[in-house]
Amino acid sequence: MAPRKSVNNGGKNAELAPALEPTINSSIEKEKGDVSVISTLATDPLPTIKVNNANLGEVKAALDEIVKKHLQNQSFTPSLLHPTVHLSLGYSSVILALSSVLYSLKVDFEDSKPILWIAVVGYTILQVVLWAWKKWIEKGEVFKGKRRRMVKRIETDHIQILSSTSLDSPSQPQLTISPHTRPSSPSSVPTSPNPSTSPSTIPNLPTTTLSSSTNGSETVVGPSYNLQLTLSITSNNGKSLIHKSRLIVGKLIGELIDEDGGIEKNEFERWLNTVLDDLGAGVDGEDEFEGNKEE
């Protein structure tokens, strides 16, 4: 885990112009053979959100919130269908249960039995349906939304992001581009000469062996935050599919959270921008520069 940033460093460098070429404020510690690197710009503000960095559930929840807000800042409008169905199923089962219990308090046991049967069976069915919904349709979804852009014609980006955490280090990023991608579209990601459906590894995506390039033998191990993003670009009212890609990528939690549990929001958002670029839903939709969108 990287140490927290010192205040002095941040204050001094803020006087200089914010560098586009990041002056990596990194520190490499050696603890029993572990090597951890966190790279943050000296201009990044100190972390405001703090979580218990030993609790993967809390970490995931906090990072999910940042993902949602960041996507909305990238002009995606979130789809409310899944949360609405989830909440409706949940609240209807709860209201059924609680109202039946209140009714049974007022009436004799024998008289309340039919209502209680309906309530218990109904509650079980609704909860099972909700569980199935969460498992097979929501599948750990964090964000689902769309965005319209004007590039000679109106194109709509549909994005769906599933997130998960794992105790293992992130695996190599996998990008799958649908073979139906039309290379002539101005907004498509330049693909290799033979677009294929088999996963390809992208050399420019950050990998876990960052430190091994400087120090041949050691790889960084630790829990990771993984994202599975699916993008499809359509136009003409959804009738023509221009681009479809799926990216599975992960990042070590140690590269996003300092030892006090403070989340490096800007670092995370920069990583999200590179991920979106590689997916084909770039920061501005067409340009592929690695810039920071000012909040």
Binding site: K60, S104, F109
Partner: protein, 177 residues
Amino acid sequence: MFSNEIARLRTLGVQGLLFQALNLLTVVSSGLMMWKGLCLVTNSESPIVVVLSGSMEPAFYRGDILFLTNPADVPYEIGDITVYKIPGADIPIVHRVIESHISNTTQLLLTKGDNNPGDDITLYNGIEWIERQHIIGKVRGFLPYIGYVTIAMNDFPQLKYALLGGVGLVMLIQQET
């Protein structure tokens, strides 16, 4: 003390708060539905009770938990240990059936505590027999000592509220996805 958690709750927004509230309500509802489900399956309004007095010693002692069922249309027999509630009395009583008559409409029973010198006629508040409808269930099994937790919470209500409050607080603060 909980500044981090409260700050996080504030950033949640309407949808986030609805999800958190749903989590809490689902836990409560699941518990209630499991209890009511047990009541329906055993056909008893209170299938788990705690022994409060020593009138059934040496079979049951104060603080034992009893498990009851109330099978419909099966008459109770002499020797069954039943839990019944006299209309007008708050507390159910657990005693053994010593006499039984089947009338046209219902079953009439007389009970007595094993450790009591006389039968329960003085507890019946005027009626001579207790009827099937007064019976909550008959004892099928028991667990010793566990009931003292319930006795403690009844004698010291602050304990009950403290426990409920603690559980509620933990649920609200811990963010579960």
